[in-house]
Amino acid sequence: MYQVSLQQFTGPLDLLLQLVESKNLSITDLSLAQVTQEYINYINEKDNINPEELADFLVIASTLLLIKSKALLPSLILKPEEEEEILDLETRLKIYKKYKEAAEFLKNTIKKEIFIINRPSWFNVSSSFNPPPHFEINYLVNSLENILSQIGGNEEVVLEKKKIEKIKTLEERIKELVERLTNNNKYKLSDLVDNKENKIDLILTFLAILHLAKRKIINLEQNNNFGEIWISTQS
């Protein structure tokens, strides 16, 4: 596949716009489907994306994949909110393009260094004590409380903390099992699952033993439906 080389991009939309424009395409779902692979390659290769930005990149990548799936599978029927997501990305990209062009225009204008000089306000007025004719101390209090209520005072915004756990891959689980299973031995499946409460762990282990059985590294036995699955290693 031919790779276009891009100048530095400043964010997820910028990268997408540059990819579309490098192919001289206009912004449509079809053109977005065409640049999906390159977009994902760029994210993969760029290792200094900070985590906050990365999330934005991934959100757009997932929408692109959706667009691409739609282009590849005409029979695929999308949910209304997915259709909306696609339209939303197109609209955002079009708006971003306009602002990028406007920024370019501003940059060139500033380069010309044509500045306007203002006159200072009330240049020739000398200061004198002029308190407002109608004033009460409460005006100050009310005004300040008004500001505080608009800004929200000292309430801190606390975001809910959630941890994302690292998910083991199937390959990793298979490797673990191979190391653990010694020759000429018999194991119960339930004993091989480290954390029985964890569904993912259970499914991974199950898939792993299926895989190992297929490769004839182990034998599986189940004496009755829903009964214990026995794993035996071959010598």
Binding site: I117, R119, P120, S121, W122, F123, N124, V125, S127, S128, F129, N130, P131, P132, P133, H134, F135, I137, N138, Y139, L140, V141, S143, L144, E145, N146, I147, L148, I151, G153, N154
Partner: protein
């Protein structure tokens, strides 16, 4: 190059009397041409009944306003510099009262808009005063003036209602 236009800009922006000699020397244009152009401008403002007038006093030229409009300007000036405070001005004054001494940048940050013009207005009315920040002398700090404190009948800014609590809250922003 339009000499009338150039001279008009210079006289407007400098806002002080300029001699035709200086203008001639700096612009590198013969003095006759400068004077000719200034007379043209003067005539133009008068004949078209513009809001500006070009005054000529002993070879010094000053751009000024049409004296017929002075009373309107005074009325406007009086409202800004002597009338009741607009809510934006009051807001700025309240921030300075409860948070002062405070820099312009900090005021701008709290209000989310530039406050230069309002600060200038409050200084002209002597409701606030400014002094260089002892730590960074290139930055001014603003606080309520003694005159205004006295006018409010307060011995100290801390006598403002609910001072401790509101000072704490506005300082946390």
């Amino acid at each position: 190059m339009d000499l009338n236009s150039i001279l008009e800009s210079i006289l407007f922006a400098s806002n002080e009397p300029q001699t035709s000699e200086d203008l001639s020397k700096i612009l590198n244009i013969p003095i006759e041409e400068i004077e000719n152009s200034l007379l043209n401008l003067q005539k133009y403002y008068l004949e078209n009944n513009r809001g500006l007038r070009l005054l000529n006093n002993n070879n010094k030229w000053l751009l000024s306003i049409n004296p017929e409009n002075t009373s309107y300007l005074n009325k406007f000036k009086k409202e800004v510099l002597e009338g009741d405070l607009s809510s934006a001005v009051l807001e700025t004054l309240a921030i300075i009262a409860y948070r002062g001494p405070i820099s312009r940048a900090e005021i701008n940050e709290i209000r989310g808009v530039d406050s230069s013009y309002i600060l200038h207005q409050l200084l002209l009315r002597e409701l606030i005063e400014r002094f260089p920040n002892p730590q960074r002398t290139n930055i001014f700090l603003y606080q309520v003036s003694f005159k205004f404190l006295k006018h409010l009948g307060l011995n100290s800014i801390k006598d403002l209602p609910n001072y401790e609590e509101l000072h704490q809250k506005i300082s946390n922003i």
